[in-house]
Amino acid sequence: MLLIIGNAIIIAGIAIIIIGIIGIHKHKSFYTRILIAAKIDTVGAITILLGIALKHGLSFFSLKTLLLLLIIVILEPLTSHIIARTAYLSGYQVEAGNIVEEQGFKKIES
Amino acid sequence: MFNHVGIIEIFAVIVFFLSFYGLITSKNIIKSIASIGIMEIAVIMFFLGIGFFDGMKPPIGANLENAADPLPQALVITTIIIGITICAVNLSMLITLCRQHKAADWDVVEKKSSE
């Protein structure tokens, strides 16, 4: 029973990730993209980890998985937030849903 | 032709020469340093692919049936540490060079340093 629930949740997580990837390519605005990427990172990862933990039942392994889940819950929103904030501070402007072209970096050939 | 040659080996060779392409074409020193890093990881991939087959388990734990070869893994950890130190030394040299020449381009640096 736990196995089936676990598998179902993992499949749901994978579905969320796929939708998210489509979303990243559909939207052109930088801030929308960050939003969607954060969805993949948090919701997708959390559901998959939860599914794995459920599949293995009560064990040391699922405890480790849950610890990992805790770290992800704390850290992922923070990283998305910092990326968005840094982008804002370094000059990316939101204008009517479109992103103005790059102002922050000069082009350097490699 | 390749009865005993795994797909990992072939991929490692391709990436090895891909990074070689990066080395002989890159204008910028940072890119050369990155290419050396890729080269190293390609060799590491080859080492780990030695004798690998599907269904292998890590050589850890009490039950060691179907375990992977532990020796390349031990060698590779050494290689990784050597790689990171070389990368760091290279980058610190690069910063010093940048400070002296205000450039990180191979041609410009060569021209300026031979003056």
């Binding site: - | 190293e40 080492f47 050494t78 030394v89 290279n90 040299m93 191979w106 060569e110 340093s113 031979s114």
Partner: protein
């Protein structure tokens, strides 16, 4: 207890780094070097009768790392210890910071470890660490030119070592072991054609380290860097390049069923010619010496690939001799540079008057390197020629002629100058002592050459009077021809000036690495 040879210098280096008193450091360093030299000679005596084997940790022999000391490696260890002793004497009154000695002694430990190790991967670790040390020592003064040179050196060597690592991977995959002796036993039962790829990979890497012909671009940059400390340049040319040749000898024995000696003889001849032609076209004394290293490497490479015991022995003896006279020349050049304040060969005049002892040592080293009778170079070249065929002998004589021409050019710094303006300079006693030790060894290595070779390699050969006379005649003719060529061609040639400005950049070096790899593969297909 062989691991102590690599660990003691390292521990010494760390202690020196922590202790803040300079005088204490230097006395301690000198004392430890004396001890190391003595013990390395002792190890040599032991391993002459029987190979010393240390299994680290007493595990079964293939499981752990094995250190072996046979005649060859113990000779190299003794050479390392001796040269470092000389360098410590030379730099006894220098005022480089503590980092200098820290790096120097770790370098010594690594070279010892490389010579004693018999594990393929272990060698990789030593090579890698030594590369970083050398590049840092080269750019010790952190000025424009040496920074670039050191960076190119480090990066191209790292790339080459990746090839080596790939080769080790194949050897491990095919034989299942990493120990050299055990792998050789397994390889004898297998088809040689399976080992073509690891052979090509490893030989490409080692050829870059040896600076053979398409791959020599880094050597003049590394050995001739203007601002590198003198002792570092001397050790680089005298010793560090020898560890690549040591690896070549080891791997030649390792891959004994793949005989590619024709290819390497051809490459060796080209290397010898390119080396002295480039040397002729330079005007910086350090660069001249650096290019001469390439030329001498060509001769050594030739000797090691001639299928004859005398030639090979001569090649190994020439490695030792080259270590002596090239270090002597570099150390002298360092002193001359400091006194005159320039490295331009056309501005330095009258060294013999101004610095008589240094000039004397330079003369002895020059006589050694040009193969003059009674000096060590002649003995080793005699041995090399004795086993070679007619064509190869002629090539060696031609390369020697080139060496003589460019050293006639080099020796113009010794004479001349206006008499009034030349005064004798007072130089540090320790420096003169170090330089003189090396110069005198060049002389004694020639006079007692036969006994020395007998002592080192247990090979007996009498140099007969007729052969010796022929040798003297040949040398006299070479000097005469060389002088004429120098007087009427080299001084005025414009082509040489154009050649002299040639230098390879990093991308070119990488590309030539690839070209050399393809060449080796094609040679394997065609010649075998």
């Amino acid at each position: 207890m062989l691991y102590l040879f690599s660990l003691m210098p390292v521990v010494l280096a760390i202690l020196l780094y922590i202790i803040p008193y300079v005088r204490v450091i230097k006395s301690m360093a000198l004392f430890c070097q004396l001890g190391l030299t003595a013990s390395s000679v002792y190890i040599f005596f032991l391993s002459k009768s029987e190979e010393i084997v240390t299994n680290i940790g007493d595990y079964e022999s293939v499981l752990g790392i094995t250190l072996r000391s046979d005649t060859l490696s113990s000779v190299f260890v003794a050479l390392t210890s001796f040269l470092f002793l000389v360098v410590v004497i030379y730099g006894f009154n220098d005022n480089y910071g503590r980092f200098y000695w820290f790096f120097m002694f770790i370098w010594q430990g690594l070279l010892n470890g490389l010579f004693l190790s018999s594990d393929l991967f272990n060698m990789f670790v030593f090579i890698e660490v030594a590369t970083i040390i050398v590049s840092v020592l080269m750019m010790y003064k952190r000025d424009n030119r040496s920074m670039y040179d050191g960076m190119v050196y480090l990066m191209i060597n790292t790339v080459a070592v990746q090839f080596y690592l790939f080769g080790i991977g194949y050897i491990y995959k095919l034989t299942g072991v990493l120990d050299i002796d055990a792998a050789m036993k397994i390889m004898k039962q297998m088809d040689p054609a399976t080992f073509y790829l690891p052979f090509a990979l490893i030989m490409t890497a080692i050829s870059l380290k040896c600076a053979l012909v398409p791959l020599f671009g880094w050597l003049p940059k590394a050995h001739g860097t203007a601002s590198a400390p003198t002792a570092v340049s001397a050790l680089l040319s005298g010793l560090h390049i020898k560890c690549a040749i040591y690896l070549f000898i080891r791997f030649q024995i390792f891959f004994e069923m793949i005989d590619l000696s024709v290819f390497f003889i051809a490459i060796g001849i080209i290397t010898g010619f390119v080396g002295f032609i480039m040397a002729l076209s330079q005007s910086d004394i350090k660069l001249i010496l650096a290019y001469h290293t390439i030329s001498q490497i060509g001769i050594i490479m030739l000797a090691l690939n001639i299928p004859d015991a005398y030639s090979r022995t001569g090649g190994v003896y020439h490695i030792i001799n080259h270590a002596m006279f090239k270090s002597a020349l570099f150390l002298c050049a360092g002193i001359i540079n400091e006194v005159y304040g320039t490295r331009d060969i056309y501005q330095i005049r009258g060294v013999l008057k101004r610095l008589p002892l240094v000039g004397g040592a330079t003369i002895m080293a020059i006589l050694g390197i040009t193969g003059a009778p009674l000096f060590n170079g002649s003995i080793s070249k005699y041995f090399i020629v004795s086993g070679a065929g007619a064509f190869v002998s002629a090539m060696i004589i031609l390369i020697n002629l080139g060496t003589i021409i460019s050293f006639i050019k080099y020796s113009t710094i010794l004479f001349g100058g206006k008499k009034q303006s030349i005064n004798r300079e007072e130089i540090d006693v320790f420096r003169q002592m170090a330089v003189l030790i090396l110069g005198i060894i060049c002389f004694f290595g020639g006079i007692f050459g036969e006994q020395f070779i007998h002592f080192l390699f247990n090979i007996d050969v009498g140099v007969d009077a007729a052969g010796y006379f022929e040798k003297i005649l040949l040398f006299a003719i070479s000097v005469a021809v060389g002088y004429v060529v120098f007087r009427y061609y080299v001084k005025k040639s414009l082509i040489l000036k154009k050649i002299g400005s040639f230098s390879q950049n990093f991308r070119g070096m990488c590309a030539s690495l690839g070209v050399f790899f393809v060449l080796v593969l094609i040679a394997l297909r065609v010649l075998l």
